[in-house]
């Protein structure tokens, strides 16, 4: 990232350039900021007192941010980018000190990590990482290097081998640091999510599997709200404009008999709108348990408004959860029952066998109005059988939406993804935000 700029520098004739860079940063974070927004922002700044920070920020927010979800990103970037002059000075000094400290640390690491009088060939990032290790870890690594050096028959040509080991160890330490500490969570406090607060915004974009136990209540409340949003969308009543739908000639003639047959009032046939039938198929194998629970949670709120909501869990066999939904059994009790009923819960997956169960034993739930939502990472035994069954299922239903928690960059590694994509609409779905986009945006 560029060095922070002050509002004052912005006023020194470089406003357009600074603002353009700021827009670039916003775009990098996924905000849809185009040239129109940039021009609007520049116009807005000419109409306010831009020496007042509040006004300056509000003007940019009004013109550059077009969604409540983007406000947190904007606030963060604004505070980083437009820094008051004194703070800018302090930050520059701090950065300078950090830079010097980093150089010293790297030098120290280079002199520590020697093998037969030669410095190990590590890049500056790795050397810095070594210096940032805890003293225990650093001592252990240094001890390992020293002992290796002092071993019998150790030749200088072993150096590359030692370098590889050291690099692997550093990589391992970095991965350990990157993991979310269980129970600590995003919010840190474990408080319930408010209406659109920063905790909730962070929760939306985090991988569902890594959501900490402390954040689960907040995530569940968020899912409940989204569920209600989807329910409103599905149950909205329609009014039709006078020009929608084809002309109903029979009703028009009958209605206009009183005008001597002159078509005075045109009657139209309303578009028929069928209620959606949703069938949810959730993979409850080990790696999928958390994702499936979240999707069930999301769609559970629809049970009051969608008459035909069917729900099945599967691992190696299919399990019907629909009676529990119809009896309005509480979600937690329902999920407990899933565990008790299935002996293989949390084990391997046989999609083909489960789909065959669905097709043969629950054929009544499948028709041309059914939208099937599958939650699975596509990993299964008997891939060809699963593909065959999925193709047969596709012929029976309106559409199949596949929510796949695997990152899209890994999809090419799985033949199952390629095969299932031929018959199902496959969407990456590992975060609540993606779940919301797919279920509310595309259902």
């Amino acid at each position: 990232m560029r060095m922070p700029l002050t509002e004052e520098t912005g006023q020194g004739g470089y406003l357009e350039e600074n603002l353009s860079s700021f827009c670039f940063l916003l775009r990098n974070e996924g905000l849809p900021v185009g040239t129109t927004e940039l021009i609007d922002a520049l116009h807005a700044l000419t109409r306010i007192d831009s020496t007042r920070r509040m006004e300056f920020k509000a003007a940019l927010q009004a013109t550059l941010v077009k969604s409540s979800r983007d406000r947190a990103v904007f606030d963060r970037l604004f505070d980083q980018y437009f820094v008051p002059a004194e703070q800018h000075q302090m930050r520059s000094e701090l950065l300078e000190r950090q830079k010097e400290k980093r150089v010293r640390s790297i030098d120290q690491a280079s002199s520590d990590l020697q093998f037969k009088g030669e410095t190990l060939q590590l890049n500056p990032e790795e050397l810095y990482q070594y210096s940032a290790l805890s003293s225990d870890q650093r001592d252990k690594l240094l001890d390992f290097v020293t002992k290796t050096e002092q071993g019998k028959n150790v030749q200088p040509r072993f150096r590359p081998l030692l370098e590889t080991v050291v690099k692997s160890h550093l990589r391992y330490c970095r991965n350990q640091d990157d993991r979310v500490e269980p129970g600590k969570g995003i919010s840190g406090s474990g408080q319930g999510a408010g209406s659109g607060g920063p905790d909730e915004l962070a929760l939306r974009d985090v991988d569902i599997r890594t959501i900490a136990a402390a954040d689960l209540p907040a995530a569940e409340q968020l899912l409940q709200r989204l569920s209600r949003k989807l329910a409103v969308k599905l149950m909205r009543r329609r009014r039709y404009g006078s020009r929608s739908g084809p002309i109903d000639l029979r009703r028009s003639l009958r209605d206009n008999m009183r005008f001597g047959g002159v078509i005075f009032n045109i009657r139209r046939r309303p578009k028929r709108r069928h209620r959606q039938q949703i069938l949810l198929l959730c993979d409850f194998s080990g790696s999928m348990k958390r994702y499936s629970t979240f999707v069930i949670h999301f769609l559970y709120g629809l049970r009051e408004v969608v008459r035909d909501l069917s729900c099945f869990s599967f691992s190696d066999r299919l399990q019907d959860l629909t009676p529990d939904i119809k009896d309005r059994v509480a979600l937690k009790i329902m999920l407990d029952r899933v565990v008790r009923r299935s002996k293989t819960w949390g084990g391997g997956t046989d999609i083909g066998c489960s789909l065959e169960d669905l097709r043969t034993k629950h054929a009544g739930t499948l028709n041309s109005r059914t939208t099937v939502i599958v939650v699975s990472d596509t990993r299964t035994v008997s891939l060809n059988a699963a593909y065959r069954e999925l193709s047969l299922l596709r012929e029976e239903v309106r559409r199949i939406i596949w929510l796949n928690p695997l990152p899209p960059q890994q999809w090419a590694d799985y033949r199952s993804v390629e095969l299932f994509s031929e018959t199902a609409e496959m969407w990456p779905c590992s975060t609540i935000a993606q779940l919301e986009d797919i279920l509310i945006g595309r259902l």
Partner: protein, 302 residues
């Protein structure tokens, strides 16, 4: 109108808002761009349109959106019945003078809100309410109106705006609006007010309300809104209804029983009522009121 003038006007009209809100509205007026307001139901989005019409001393033209809304209801429609009658009269009287231009003239044009706003003699306020409820096709149609402020009627040609209207769009965020529409707008997100701000709103809208009652009501409402299990959080309008009812019952302060007896004015759902009984109840309200004992000092009441 300058920014300080706008702020004063909002205060005079009893629309209590923060500096960011007034500045955003000011920019929308200055840049002649539509103002898109999002927020939970009942935070004052529609009210903004009404207040702006009052401040600018002009007409409020309202277009309520719903699924299935089309140009005939939003833009214009030919008065088909009147045209037919005219043709029949012409035939019966044997005049034979009527031409196509006569039939497709202003006399037979039914103006709907969009056209009315564009042809208005003075700058009007066009409120497009709950735009998230209309179809994406209609949203795309709005682009032309909102970007060029002109509409095309095949029989009459292109009609540019006589005065560019002040456009206010509101959305409950039930669905994501298209980027195209957002791009044409200045964006404002309204949150539920803080306790102090809600007290000011109550005092501005309900004359004769006791300071203590206003303060305590705002505290209870704020706590209710924090209950995330509620299906519908109380809106500002519901707060005002509640306070008005309490004033008419000659109450000058709240207590647990009064809240329990009159809560139907605020929570209009059986499940929400159950949430209240479970999570707060009369005892919970009493505790909130005890906590807000200090609030009386803040608002200067005894």
């Amino acid at each position: 109108m300058s920014l300080p003038d706008l702020r004063k006007s909002f205060d005079r009209a009893g629309y209590i808002c923060d500096e960011v809100t007034s500045l955003t509205v000011y920019l929308a007026l200055e840049l002649q761009k539509p103002l898109l307001i999002e927020g939970a139901p009942g935070v004052g989005k529609t009210e903004m349109g009404k207040v702006l019409a009052e401040l600018l001393d002009t007409d409020l033209i309202r277009l309520q959106c719903y699924e299935g809304l089309d140009e005939t209801k939003a833009l214009y429609e030919w008065n088909y019945q009147r045209q037919l009658l005219r043709i029949q009269m012409d035939r019966e009287l044997g005049e034979g003078k009527i031409s196509e231009e006569d039939l497709f003239s202003d006399r037979y044009l039914l103006e709907r809100p969009l056209l009315k706003a564009i042809r208005s003699e003075k700058r009007s306020v066009l409120l497009i309410d709950e735009v998230d409820k209309c179809d994406p096709e209609f949203e795309a149609f709005l682009f032309e109106v909102l970007s060029d402020f002109q509409v095309s009627i095949p029989e009459l040609g292109t009609i540019p705006a006589r005065n560019i209207p002040v456009v206010v769009l509101t959305s409950n965020n039930e669905r994501e609006l298209s980027d195209g529409l957002k791009r044409r707008c200045i964006y404002l997100y309204l949150e539920f007010p803080e306790v102090e701000k809600e007290v000011r709103i109550i005092k501005a809208k309900v004359p004769g309300v006791a300071d203590r009652l206003a303060w305590e009501t705002a505290r209870v409402i704020s706590r209710l809104r924090q209950q995330s299990e509620l299906r519908k959080k109380p809106s500002i309008a519901e707060t005002l209804d509640w306070v008005t009812a309490l004033v008419s019952l000659n109450r000058t302060r709240l207590d647990g029983r009064t809240v329990s007896e009159t809560l139907n004015l605020v929570l209009k759902n059986h499940a929400d009522r159950q949430v209240f009984d479970l999570q707060l109840g009369e005892r919970g309200v009493e505790e909130i009121l005890k906590e807000s004992g200090g609030g009386g000092d803040i608002c200067g009441c005894r």
